[in-house]
């Protein structure tokens, strides 16, 4: 890509992004192209990070393990639902992912957790997300009993309007009371340690980002 084009892209993206400065945006753009590889840019063809590459990044760099959550995170990034993350989605996504305010993160997390996108996190969705969260004890008669119980506990804690499902306002209120509940149904944000490593690595220099 020509220097001029890059400059222009950087400027546009920086204007739309409040959490990164020009240098950081440039670093991230470079990283993006490094990840996408040598796909020559052609008119009409969208270039972007596909699902697998993205999941790989989430797994290797941010230590996420839950497939379902990682899928949801990908969907969270992929605003236009075209199956790949283009450069502006990349920058915007990362700005929330890494530097987002509590409000932005809440919105992002809720979208991640709202599996079917109906604006509510239902009991089923919770069950789905939490089903691997307890160590299976062979003694349990019903292995799902614990999960169901956990879902009840969560509902009791978070369902403020007692309608048996979590609306965004339920969720928001709970998180404001107890920030720990931001990622209530699974880690979908980077943990501080890997985040720091990532930022240190990416924003260190423009040349190197081979490990990913």
């Amino acid at each position: 890509m020509s220097r001029k084009k890059l400059q222009k892209l950087t400027d546009t993206l920086t204007k739309n992004c409040k959490h990164f400065n020009t240098f950081e945006v440039e670093c991230l753009i470079n990283l993006f192209y490094k990840l996408v590889g040598d796909v020559t840019e052609r008119q009409g063809m969208v270039i972007g990070i596909d699902r697998n590459t993205f999941r790989n990044i989430l797994h290797m760099t941010f230590g996420m393990t839950d497939d379902m959550i990682m899928d949801r995170v990908f969907r969270g990034f992929d605003k236009d639902n075209d199956g790949c993350i283009n450069v502006s989605e990349w920058i915007y996504g990362l700005s929330v992912f890494l530097r987002g305010t509590l409000e932005e993160k809440m919105k992002y997390c809720f979208e991640v957790f709202d599996l079917n996108g109906d604006g509510f996190i239902s009991k089923d969705e919770m069950f789905h997300m939490l089903k691997n969260s307890l160590l299976k004890q062979p003694s349990e008669e019903d292995p799902d009993e614990g999960i169901k119980d956990l879902v009840e506990i969560t509902l009791k804690k978070m369902d403020h309007d007692h309608d048996g499902k979590l609306s965004f306002s339920d969720y928001e209120q709970s998180v404001r009371e107890e920030t720990l509940l931001l990622e209530a149904f699974g880690p979908c944000l980077p943990d501080p340690k890997s985040q720091m490593e990532f930022e240190a690595h990416v924003f260190k220099d423009t040349d190197e980002f081979n490990d990913i």
Partner: protein, 1040 residues
Amino acid sequence: MGEALTKSAQWTAAGHGTRTLEITPLNEVILKEIMMFVESFIYKYPQEAKYVFVEPLEWKTNLDPSAFESGYIVSETTVKSEEVDESGQPLLFLSVPHIKIRNFGQLSRLLLIAKDTKLKEAQACIEANRDPVAKILGLDYNTVKEDTSTVNILDKITKDEDSESEMKMKIAMLLRQLDVHLLNHCLKHISLQISLNPTSVKNDIELLKNFSGKGEQTVLESIDYTSDYEFSNGCRAPPWRQIHGEICYVLVKPHDVETLCITCSAEGVFLNGGKTDDEGEIDYERKGELYKDLVTFLKEKSAKFSENMSKQGIKFRNAQKKEKEEPTNELPEKEEAAPVQKAITLEKNQINFGKSQMTKRLEPSLNWKATVDFKEHRNLLRDPQVEKHRGKPERSGPPVLCGRAQLARKSTEKTEEIVSESSSESEEDEEPSDHRQEANADLPSEYWQIQKVVKYLKGGNQTATVIALCSMKDFNLAQETCQLAIRDVGGLEVLINLLDTDEVKCKIGSLKILMEISHNPQIRRNIVDLGGLPIMVNILDSPHKSLKCLAAETIANVAKFRRARRAVRHHGGITKLVALLDCGKSSAEPAQPSLYDARDVDVARCGALALWSCSRSYANKEAIRKAGGIPLLARLLKTSHENMLIPVVGTLQECASEENYRAAIKAERIIEDLVKNLNSTNEQLQEHCAMAIYQCAEDEETRDLVRLHGGLKPLASLLNNTDNKERLAAVTGAIWKCSMSKENVTKFREYKAIETLVELLTDQPEEVLVNVVGALGECCQEYENRVLVRKCGGIQPLVKLLVGTNQALLVNVTKAVGACAVEPESMMTIDRLDGVRLLWSLLKNPHPEVKASAAWALCPCIQNAKDSGEMVRSFVGGLELVVNLLKSDNKEVLASVCAAITNIAKDQENLAVITDHGVVPLLSKLANTNNDKLRHHLAEAISCCCMWGRNRVAFGEYKAVAPLVRYLKSNDPSVHRATAQALYQLSEEADNCITMHENGAVKLLLHMVGSPDQDLQEAAAGCISNIRRLALATEKARYT
């Protein structure tokens, strides 16, 4: 060799009844040393070897005549040496089995002949000749008497001159050397094999003391040392008995037997001959069997002891164990995490305890094991019930195990409490009874809910854990049932384990809960027992500020008792906490995600909170100072957040009890900020500031600083709000200390504080009263204030307070009343209210400080009362009481009583009475003192007492004059004046003049005549003139 031999021989002989040497390693060493000495004697000192003993050494030998070869005339049953003395007697004569030897040469040879049996021969010889030195050198050199010394021997020798005695002297010296050598050996030996040592004996006795006293439950009625003096090595036995390994003597009164006088020696414990009535000496002879330690001994002697001991047994054992554990306290933290292991170590310790006491007779006590079993048993009994309740066949192991360990631990803590009772900081070290919920009791529904949540906490991944933690937080964690439920279902362990993970969210959640439940004293202890503190201390290093905050705040809650505070220090927590205070510098850190962010101010605030808790231990105060905490605290003090200021001032206030802190507080200009914060609206902050000023204002410069920074006005105005008693106590305390400076008192008067203080004399708790009265006592040193106090009606409440019992209060009240009594008008009121009688009766108070203060207060009363002579006489037995106080051994009491006597003696009739009570000999007895205050008042008392009858003569007879003359060499001018006046009075008597002259009084007095002090001049001159007149009269008498 005499001393070593007699003593070591006696030691063992006494130990075993018969007069033989027991085969002990020690005796063997001694014998070998003697043998070596004797064997080499013939080579080393050929001359001396020929010296003929005064008396032969005789003993029964096992040697066969046939063993003797050349140089001996051998027959079947006898052997004679060819070597003979001057009179032709053989120097060795053996008539089976008796052998007599007359010189060292023969002794040496005999040992060579005896070869393998020489040890036996040497032993037999020494057993048969209890005092070989006497036999060798003659009775004059007898060393059996314990006072024998080289000087003694030399003395004897220098008297006669012949060559024989020179020889004797040489031998005596040689034997002496051997003696010293042997003693050294013995000591080395004793110190190596010692089994009971002074520390262990002392610990035992201290522990027994703790469990002694009146009543049926105690193990003993009393246990006391015979001697209060403890040598630097921890022994109390006199040095000449220490060589026998004796450590101390103890008088024990069990419930059911007569008082026992017991010797504790390195070997063990035994009954001695008891105290002889006439001299109070102890009969050191052993009268009974040897026991391995005091407890065993007492169990044998007293059935009651044995019985109560088994009841108290666990406690005692644990206390002993605890002491053993103490030094290694840093280590067990890990063990505590593993309850099972802990239980094992308990038993191990038990065995170690036995070992350390008596290496040879290892005998683990069954007592302890039995109790442990009992506990286990109880636990087992409980478990099935618990299971029934849960309706599940198997349950997780940890709760049971931890339950047992905790129970065991709990009992150790209880005894720790008892042991540390004397500690100044024990007040908040409360050990609440453990409300562990019994399985059969009705458990609240929360219990089951919490149990469920803890289950998910244990068995969940990060997400489930966070949910469980958040849900747990929704319980009412301030409620004890919930706090204990978390512990009882094993939640504490999990929460603490979570702190050790890498999951920041879990750590935060766990700390949030721990912070809440650690308000409960039991939980605090459990957290410490589970090793939670070191982990939390480590979290203080975390890059996440909110984690730091939570950890520090939890530490602040947990470190409310001594063991916890110590643990924080030992794990380097103080330095880390102090580092938290340094909040400004960390701003360079990269921005943290908002989730884990906390403000720097909060970090510093939590650090200060934790330090506040920790600063209740002396060692921690030191550690905070060394970590550079004071300047940081000073800097935080400049901020304006009340939340921050309270812990900061609290820490400073706590630490200001230490001298170097007070200096630092002054140096860091902290007083200014303390004063500033007195004006805050937060009562707690005001209280702590006032308290800090109270602590610091012992120092005069600080008092001035408080005034200069305008602190007196807010203090005075805070007096008007009397609802908050704690704050009132702190404020009045600060006023008291500040009013020690005159300028401050003037200010207080300006601010009308004195009137307010008088109002506070009624209806206030004692801690307020002590300070109020103390402040009034200081203020009343000035005339205007005395008038003010009288006018405000302060005298009556003050006199009323004289009937109290609080020691500190009484000291202050007497001082205040004394200060008021300087005013004749006030004195009338005091007299009318019978204040003098009350003061007088305080002379009987057990506390010396109260006595002294009362006596000082009496002085102005006697001076200013109308008809004071009559008043004093009206107190039945009062004068006798005062005179008898001269027998006190407290210098302050003595000085004050002397001052009182000075005033009493101004009335002739009273002087006559106290003379009858023997005031003269008692005063004379005190004369040899170096205390200038006492000297001053004593001299005054003497000079006043001279005014009656033949007291002047009596002082001379009781040898008070010579020491008085020496007072003139003191550096204190007030002593000079009083002494000169006393000497002047005494010099009216011719004999005293002679004594003074002999002691060089004239020169000293001549010097005093040149003093600017008129009274001193006059008295000195008068004294000299009396001495001179006597001299002239003598001269005149001689020439006429």
